[in-house]
Symmetry: C3
Subunit: 350 residues, 3 copies
């Protein structure tokens, strides 16, 4: 399954220094790469590893070209990390051929569904009435597309994805196993001590080039739709409540919860395990640290954090106990300041 | 698919002011409703939107009747939010007919299973031996009912739900895709540095009128059952440990974790991302804020919170650093107070 | 379905005091056990319950033998909790026979897959090309094994598990419903305001005797593999990022997120809802409390915590407000200390 350096440069560009027929068996991390492997160096702080790696070749920026050449072959490119990303895509296409177009005989496809050219449907998939799947899209085994769902071109739905009734997924998306798009938003009216369900009549609209992680849930809107704009990347086990908007090219890490009607701007990042409360607005360019709880709108771009610093348990216990009296402590400090001020006024010479 | 105001009032009550044949194409939020749409106003603080909305009609309380009439048609009712909830239910029934009763030919139903009148079973569903499904219930595509499971009447199991062996789901429940009812509780005995599995011999019992969100997990009990009482509403991606009890009409938001043997009372609410540790008791009427960690039993009704306030990252860093020395700061304040007291005793006139 | 005390002791050892033909209908918790039930007492602090329980027999340590005998039958053993764990395993085997070996006619098994002796495959399972399943393993209904996946002997894959292409699961593992092993790690290169996907070319390797909870996700590595070592126990709804290592016999509770390339040692425990940031190292024997955020490597064994103490909401509000000025408070204390010191220097006699 080896590819040669020459094939790689032919496909992806860059300037090759070294023998084009050098075989590459595998892409590898710089720190552990050995003979037959290709690694990249994107940051100067890893430059010292260049001298000692046994990799058959390196992908480096112009600034590291001399150092790389001193040890062997290299591909010089403007942005090695971007080059590496594109290389992984090319590598995968070379090694994992796409499934053949066609419907697995064990799938259940409603006669009214429209599957365009080049669509593949896996075993036990369910494609309901009035569904439209655009060309080149793969519907994984066990994936369920509800009535009226629409999926754009060249999208990859992994096995066991659910796309609910009337929900839309864009082109060139990737949706991982267990994702649930279009479950009901969490809406109930209180009545005499019980909860009366508000049926969720909206849907979910997902733009192009979106990736959705395993077991992530995106709820359908109550009346209007929940919207995930183009280029958004969602990690695993994320909860997106009803009527949320996630702006273009925003990335959200795993285990994040976004409550209903939150409006997250474009080009934001949200760290793992963070929580965004409902009906808040985060403008474009907001970055929320892991495990932080957004309790108010963030109307200025910037980096926001709120998490209790971890410590050894004994120290934490003492600080946490003090924290529960912090407001009282503040009052004590105020009283002490007042006493000092009084004393100084009475003893001006001291 | 339009319905008229007259049809709506005939089905749901309320006093109609306006032409009964006014067509309603869609239910819409007050803020964006336009011609052909019906919106509701439940709270006085939104009353100013009444004057500017283009909605064809409004659902309002008696107190807003005059203001609503000044602009056009309205339905007057005692509790507009409750009216709206019931309207969404009626609207959905009108527009999304229930699936026809019967077993999809691609489902796998054990001959010993008992399916009552009006039950529908979707494609690729698995109904194991000795299962009982009561009348009018829908078993979605890909849903798996384990041996001896029981599901009450008029319940809706969305596609891809798992109900484990011997677990019970009540009547009029809704269970969303990916929910796992009856996986093993997390129980192991430590032995010579390894963990020995404690098989979980209990089951899960879920009352009537319960809703369970997408990818939510409710573990089976170790010996006794895990119990979710009637009217409980669970959002998505919630973890309920073994032998937990969740009391009637309690609502839990997304991403909450409830550890084993916790006992949560009735009419409680738990905010998104909160954690309830094991073996604790929360009495009826406890409300836990989002992302708070319940580390002790809460034996008085009330509202409880524990989360680090979010701030810009630079400010947070300074405060978090100080927090790690908070107990020391408290001792310094105590010493300062002591020094002041001593000084005042020595200089009583000052 | 009753078993006798004699059968139990014959299977599991221990010293029986009492009639071997005493029937046991059920294993039960000490606090609620009644006639026909068998309970265990592992800790002295529960010893007082011995006198009042109606259990037909008790499993006790030598130290509680006399007290137990004073009320009736007992099994004496060195480690009652371990005995109980093994008893639950035996009890389950006696009452829930294993599925018969063989492939359900409704499963989809690729001709190139190798299924060893005694393997059972449930309805609608998908076993792709080049898969190997070792003897005695159960592949649940709806479970999907991707191309080249390998599963060890005597493993139990519950219904609806996904094992991605080239991923490996060890022997004697248990994987619960909805678990996703081998979804893509979350890796993107930023480029002109958008994200370029880094295809994840590694896989997941899971050792022997591992348990993986419902809806838990373990992502495949970017280049190298994500590794879960032998004896690890993962609860439900856990996210394990790409290239993480979890060391042998570590136990992680529900809703935990472990970010990419974190390296967690052996014999660690991580409490529910905790977050471990990426690229950190936790040495063997680290214990992280629930809901704590690990933001730095923990290079000494021990117990670590970081969570905001819960309080009634009004008190929390005051303390949280003070916390946002904590660093300022610290400066005020410093200033007060300085003023006191100055005053004392000027008034040495006071």
């Amino acid at each position: 399954m080896a590819r040669s350096l020459g094939e790689i440069v032919e496909a992806l560009g860059g300037t090759l220094h070294g023998a084009p027929d050098t075989p590459i068996q595998r892409l590898a991390p710089l720190g552990t790469a050995s003979a037959g492997e290709l690694a990249f160096v994107a940051q100067l702080r890893y430059a010292h590893q260049i001298d000692t790696t046994s990799a058959s070749a390196l992908i480096v920026p112009e600034s590291l070209k001399e150092r790389a050449l001193a040890r062997g072959s290299c591909i010089v490119t403007g942005d090695p990390y971007l080059y590496f990303a594109k290389l992984t895509q090319w590598w995968r296409r070379e090694h994992e051929p796409l499934p053949e177009a066609g419907i697995d005989p064990l799938a259940s496809v409603h006669p009214s569904a429209q599957l365009d050219e080049g669509v593949s449907v896996g075993a036990f998939a369910v494609v309901a009435r009035d569904v439209h799947v655009a060309r080149g899209t793969h519907v994984g085994a066990h994936t369920v597309l509800g009535p009226g769902a629409r999926v754009g071109a060249d999208t990859w739905l992994h096995p066991r994805v659910t796309v609910g009734a009337r929900c839309q997924v864009g082109a060139r998306c990737v949706v991982h196993s267990g994702a649930v798009i279009g479950a009901d938003g969490f809406g109930f009216a209180p009545h005499e001590g019980a909860w009366v369900k508000i049926e969720q009549l909206g849907a979910v609209r997902i733009g192009d080039d979106v990736e959705i992680g395993a077991n992530t849930c995106i709820d359908r809107g109550a009346l209007d739709d929940t919207v995930i704009e183009q280029g958004v990347k969602l990690d695993n086990l994320i909860q997106i409540g009803h009527n949320v908007r996630v702006g273009a090219h925003t990335a959200i890490a795993g285990c994040v919860g976004v409550a209903g009607s939150a409006d997250i701007g474009a080009h934001c990042t949200v760290g793992g395990g963070a929580v965004v409360l409902g009906h808040l607005r985060l403008v474009d360019g907001v970055h929320v640290s892991a495990a932080s709880v957004v309790t108010r709108s963030l109307l200025q771009p910037g980096h926001y954090t709120g998490m209790f610093p971890i410590d050894d348990n004994a120290t934490w216990e003492k600080n946490a106990a003090s924290l529960k009296q912090l407001n009282r402590l503040r009052e004590r400090v105020k009283a002490a300041e007042h006493a000092i001020e009084q004393a100084l006024q009475n003893n001006p010479k001291s």
